[in-house]
């Protein structure tokens, strides 16, 4: 107990230095938490994928549509309990250089889509209103919040994949069932897209972008995938069916180089924590060389002295780490606000917190190692002779 008091007394000797070191560690732990959270947000689509859903798309690339009549054939595949489809609409809303103005827009089948995505929770009256009106749309809660859209508002945008000016009336606002549910999407009736394109660009076919399949049990995934794909293998539009998880994974894969560099950066951060902390500990030990010699003369063992050094390092690193964690939450919030649509789902995961504290503790141990060793080995006479 007395030893612990000595550690604390030592900490308060250079209050400013101790405080600065803690602050330095706190900022580093905060940056670490932010980066890990961003990497996690990248994977949100994968985490949020349902185990019993599959995506069927054109085998050559997602950019090619697949024929509408495929639906009736996919429905008949044993194990499939539900089929819906959607089209990526694209479009340009307002100033295209403002990140806020980009969010996913899909043309969907109103009868089946929300049935397949139970995590998009829509009040029954709003769903009914969405089904009834051709140019109705449903938007996510976060999206509505960001732009101040309310029920009955009209959203207008310029088409890019599909030409012309497009308008929808907001008839529903969905909320996410889980924290990992994306609440920034927008859905409108596929029939509206179909009819409008037929009018605006006669002769241009409008097919399904991709099909969404629900299977009875996750065990059936592989069997259903090969059953569906083999059906269309020799047709004009061969398909590739995969679980929703794999489908989302392929999107994450596209940015893997950026994710890797972020992970490298998070290692660099741990190195920075180490440098800041090591600097402080080395300094303290150097200043107190004579004191340690005196303590040794009084009969303290080398191990006890090493304990002082280590204890000091750990107290500093731990308090810095906790402070850093507390700071992580507001900074993540601020970051999400700066780039609102890049990361529809961004949460600080418990594992991130644990790793942040762990990194700080590890740095504390490593930073104390060399100075502690020096104290243990120091002959008393030399220590007493040192001029600090």
């Amino acid at each position: 107990m007395k030893l612990l008091r000595l550690v604390f007394k030592n900490l308060f000797r250079h209050r400013l230095r101790t405080a600065l070191t803690m602050l330095g560690i706190a900022t580093a732990v905060m940056a670490f938490g932010l980066i890990r959270t961003i990497v996690g947000a990248w994977n949100a689509g994968v985490t949020g994928a349902a185990a019993n859903r599959m995506i069927t798309r054109h085998r050559v690339s997602l950019i090619f549509p697949i024929p509408l009549p495929y639906r009736s054939e996919i429905v008949r595949v044993p194990g499939v309990t539900g089929v819906s489809w959607a089209n990526w609409f694209g479009g340009v809303y307002g100033d295209p250089n403002d990140f806020k103005n980009f969010w996913p827009r899909f043309a969907v089948d109103p009868e089946t889509y929300f049935d397949l995505y139970p995590e998009f929770q829509l009040p029954p009256d709003q769903l009914a209103a969405f089904k009834k009106e051709r140019n109705a749309c449903v938007i996510g809660r976060k999206l509505a919040q960001q732009h101040g859209f309310k029920l009955g508002d009209v959203i207008t945008m310029e088409g890019d994949i599909y030409a012309g000016r497009w308008q929808w009336v907001v008839r529903g606002i969905y909320t996410g069932r889980d924290p990992s549910t994306d609440e920034t999407q927008m859905f409108f009736q596929f029939a509206y897209l179909f009819e409008q394109v037929r009018q605006r660009e006669p002769g241009r076919p409008v097919d399904a972008g991709f099909y969404v399949l629900r299977v009875g049990s996750p065990d059936a995934l592989a069997r259903v995938a090969s059953a569906v794909d083999s059906q269309f293998v020799n047709s004009r539009a061969p398909t590739k069916t995969e679980s929703e998880k794999e489908f989302q994974q392929s999107f994450v894969q596209m940015s893997s180089a950026i994710i890797t560099s972020l992970q490298v950066i998070s290692v660099v951060i741990v190195a920075i924590i180490l440098l800041v902390l090591a600097n402080t500990i080395v300094m303290s030990v150097r200043e107190r060389t004579r004191e340690y010699a005196v303590l040794k003369t009084l009969g303290f063992s080398g191990r006890q002295l090493a304990g002082f050094v280590l204890g000091e390092a750990l107290v500093i690193s731990l308090s810095g780490g906790v402070l850093g964690l507390l700071l992580t939450f507001p900074i993540v919030k601020g970051f999400a606000k700066a780039l609102p649509t890049f990361f529809p789902v961004i949460n600080v995961a418990p594992i991130t917190m644990a790793l942040g504290i762990g990194a700080a503790l590890l740095a504390g141990l490593a930073a104390a190692a060399i100075p502690a060793n020096r104290v243990v080995r120091m002959p008393i006479v030399i220590g007493l002779r040192t001029v600090g």
């Binding site: 085998r59 990140f99 061969p238 893997s256 560099s261 440098l275 600097n279 890049f342």
Partner: protein, 390 residues
């Protein structure tokens, strides 16, 4: 006013080598990340901007954000070919390429994952139009056949893309007859073939875009105004190729920059605090020295300056080290999907004098901020008390 000699500052740093090294290391790491991020964003922009030629014009459908979402019909292409503002090449043929851009999936060598690859169908004048693209292995593809030429980035990153190999897409097989070097531009990440063959294979009735060379390099605005008045050209838009490709790089480059600057700003706090700790310790250890300097007649301002310079030197050495480390990144190349074209683009880290300057300024700012308060403390020491300190 007498200045404190620089050798004093230098020796003070050298006297506490371990602490100095730790602080320099911290600053170096921060500057390394800072410079690395800027280099990456710059590399991406350079790759895409260099892809466009200054005297080439691209024609897209109005409000299309990329070639992928654009559609241009044959009629428009015919009108433009007859237009006098389009440069003529050999035999008086218009230097105009009708192009279709699509995306296919290929397996990557490294991760064995599917990657998106742009394929571009071009007309006979395409190579003449893009002077930077050269065949380095094999030969150009023959029009009217299922032959393709692949960019060198594609050849090096994707499986089974070698001379003589067969690629399967669009319900057909395509033979790789050549590998092209486009000088590090986005064309290095594309596969080229005959536009009519591609359109037939994918059942596509319209082009994605048209590219042509201006007959008069300065005549873009004039030509644009004239064409915009033409009722047959109402649904398309003309853009300088450079501007178009700049737009293509915008989202990804802004993202990399924003992320990088947020992270390095946070980092720089850490480094500044490190510098501050070091400098405070330097001041505390040298109280008697400072007293002596003052007793010798050096002014408070000189003492302040000396400590500030010491801190700046510390940061500059760290900054230089960081930039030197970052320079090694120039050898690395990365490949990510640009969501605007929905396909892989390979690019490198590009170091520019501007980046070196920003990185060093960044380091100096860290040094000044980190060193200011400790220097003030040193300058405010009372002579008598300082000399008496043990």
């Amino acid at each position: 006013m007498m200045r404190i000699p620089f050798s004093y500052i230098w020796r003070s740093l050298w006297a506490r080598r371990l602490t100095t090294a730790l602080t320099v290391g911290g600053v170096a790491l921060v500057v390394f990340v800072f410079a690395g991020v800027l280099m990456l964003a710059r590399g991406l922009e350079a790759t895409l901007v260099e892809t466009g030629s200054p005297d080439n014009v691209i024609v897209l459908r109005r409000s299309a954000t990329s070639e992928l979402s654009s559609q241009v019909d044959r009629g428009t292409a015919d009108v433009l070919e007859a237009e006098s503002g389009v440069a003529r090449g050999m035999e008086g043929r218009p230097l105009l390429s009708r192009e279709v851009v699509l995306v296919i999936d290929l397996y990557k060598k490294k991760s064995n994952a599917l990657g998106n690859v742009s394929i571009r169908g071009v007309s006979a004048r395409a190579m003449e139009l893009r002077r930077g693209v050269h065949i380095v292995q094999g030969q150009p593809f023959q029009f009217g056949t299922h032959e393709v030429v692949v960019g060198k980035s594609i050849a090096s990153q994707f499986k089974g893309v070698t001379l003589g190999a067969q690629l399967a897409f669009g319900g057909d097989r395509w033979t790789v007859v050549g590998i092209a070097d486009a000088g590090g531009t986005a064309f290095d990440s594309e596969i080229w073939g005959d536009v009519d063959q591609f359109m037939q294979a994918f059942g596509r009735p319209v082009y994605s875009s048209l590219s042509f060379r201006l007959a008069n390099p300065g005549g873009f605005d004039q030509l644009k105004t004239r064409l915009q008045a033409d009722p047959r050209m109402q649904y398309v838009e003309l853009k300088h190729e450079r501007d178009y490709y700049q737009e293509q790089s915008k989202t990804l480059a802004t993202f990399i920059r924003t992320l990088g600057i947020v992270v390095t700003t946070i980092f720089s706090f850490g480094a500044m605090i490190g510098a501050m700790i070091t400098m405070y310790a330097a001041v505390a250890n040298r109280t008697v020295e400072v007293g002596t300097l003052r007793a010798l007649g050096f002014r408070r301002r000189s003492v302040l300056g000396a400590f500030l310079i010491e801190s700046v030197v510390l940061a500059l050495v760290g900054g230089a080290l960081g930039v030197a480390l970052a320079a090694f990144l120039s050898f690395a190349r990365i490949s990510v999907v640009n969501f605007q074209s929905f396909s892989e683009i390979g690019f490198g880290f590009a170091l520019s004098p501007g980046i070196v300057r920003s990185a060093l300024i960044f380091a100096v700012v860290m040094g000044v901020i980190g060193g200011f308060l400790p220097a003030v403390r040193a300058a405010r020491l009372n002579i008598v008390n300082a000399l008496r300190a043990s």
